[in-house]
Amino acid sequence: MKPPLPNAEARLRRARPLLGTVVEIQVSGLAPAQLERAISRAFAAITHVQMVMSFHDPASDLSRINRLAARRAVRVDAATWTVLRHARALTRVSEGRFDPSIAPILQRWGLLPGVPHPRQPETNGSAICLLPGRRVRFLAPLTLDLGGIAKGYAVDRAVAVLRRAGVPAGLVNAGGDLRVFGNHAAPVHVRHPTKPGLFFPLGELRDGALATSALTYSGKIQQGTATGALVDPRNGTACGQNLSITVLARSAWLADALTKVVAVDPAAARPILARYGARAVILDTQGRADWLDTPLRHVA
């Protein structure tokens, strides 16, 4: 057996508690010390996204705009700005099926802290106004929650930082919002929508992102009916019950946000998925996988 070379390429796998879940980073293709440095920068990038887009931290960008932007323009961090731009574009394209202004509904369900504003009517993401100089203004009283998109964006940021550090291949997984880059093939399993100890082999992903939304952990029972973090923003009802929705897309923010569009209305989601070059698969409690596109020609 040959002894390892002093500068041999390594594989590293690290995990930290971030974004309310366990965030894992896998990297390979550089010397161990370089990989360690890159991983530490990538975790720092995720921590930054968590800090500026936290709903719970009163000093975050998100809390500041929720408090002030209905009265005056509020300048935000570049990361918050990018996420708000993506969110607003998807709200428009999905005709309101994705909408970050669902926070009052989640507050009413006890999934987010705080009491919803009494004069705040239905969700209205089109009232988010993005002004020059990274300033945000609401044209109506709104409370935003970026939970449906920021986790994916944090994964994208981490991947960008790893690439900039010269890492040729790797994977970032934030509790199911995952992205793979370089020559790394990731076999992915998806959880059963209601039995979290059961995993289904979904396939192998390269150079792309994947996100799953299901009520497995976020669901709560309220007044006899299950409600969860999957909300139809147009009428405030829970959706996607007993289903697990996985979207494959080029970036993790997109995969993350598109799972909500599919949960609200699978049929209407088809052209939206096609527009973004994304694909979706819905898993039911019987383990049936329903792909929302034409069946693939690949044979596993």
């Binding site: 995990a15 299901a214 690949h298």
Partner: protein
């Protein structure tokens, strides 16, 4: 984006697997060097007095399972804590680094294991995860590498970090 599905046709039933999911990320020695590169470590493990246990529980709002605390001091006066959390379905070993002033300067997960069987509650089963060295790597099921669909919440680990800050305050800050 390139994706090769496990099954080629739409609307087919997938075959589920119930095996547990476990990853060992770091040994204790590796975690020490990750949080405090180049430092040397002296075992400073301690047993809290009943008063200190009470202080920690009140201050952190998190219950202390044992008064025995695994902690090392570095040559630069920082602290390295090793702890584990046991949730309903998860078992996580993690380490927290505190600088000489008691501020968190690193949190690393060493072992993540989730199980929907009974073994997670079994002390013998848990014992195999603690005190691992580079010479005794853990044997894990490697079939399931990446899971999509929410992993367990990190809430227990974050509560553990608060508990460690309270332990530092009551037992170590004066040293």
């Amino acid at each position: 984006m390139r994706f090769t599905p496990a099954l080629a046709t739409a609307a087919t039933a997938l075959v589920g697997s119930t095996s547990g999911y476990a990853v060992e990320y770091l040994t204790v020695a590796q975690a020490q060097q990750t949080i405090f590169p180049g430092a040397t470590f002296t075992d400073a493990s301690l047993r809290l007095t009943p008063e200190q246990v009470k202080f920690v529980s009140q201050k952190s709002g998190a219950r202390l399972r044992s008064p025995d605390i695994h902690v090392w001091r570095t040559n630069t006066g920082s602290w390295f804590f090793l702890d584990e959390v046991l949730g309903k379905h998860e078992f996580i070993t993690y380490a927290v680094g505190l600088d000489a002033k008691g501020a968190v300067c690193g949190v690393e997960i060493l072992v993540y294991k989730e199980s929907y069987g009974q073994q997670v509650q079994n002390p013998k089963w848990r014992a195999q995860f603690t005190g691992k060295t580079a010479a005794s790597p853990l044997k894990l099921d490697e079939d399931i590498q990446n899971i999509s669909g929410a992993t367990l919440s990190s809430r227990h680990v974050m509560e553990g970090v608060k508990r460690i800050l309270a332990i530092h305050e009551t037992a170590l800050a004066q040293r």
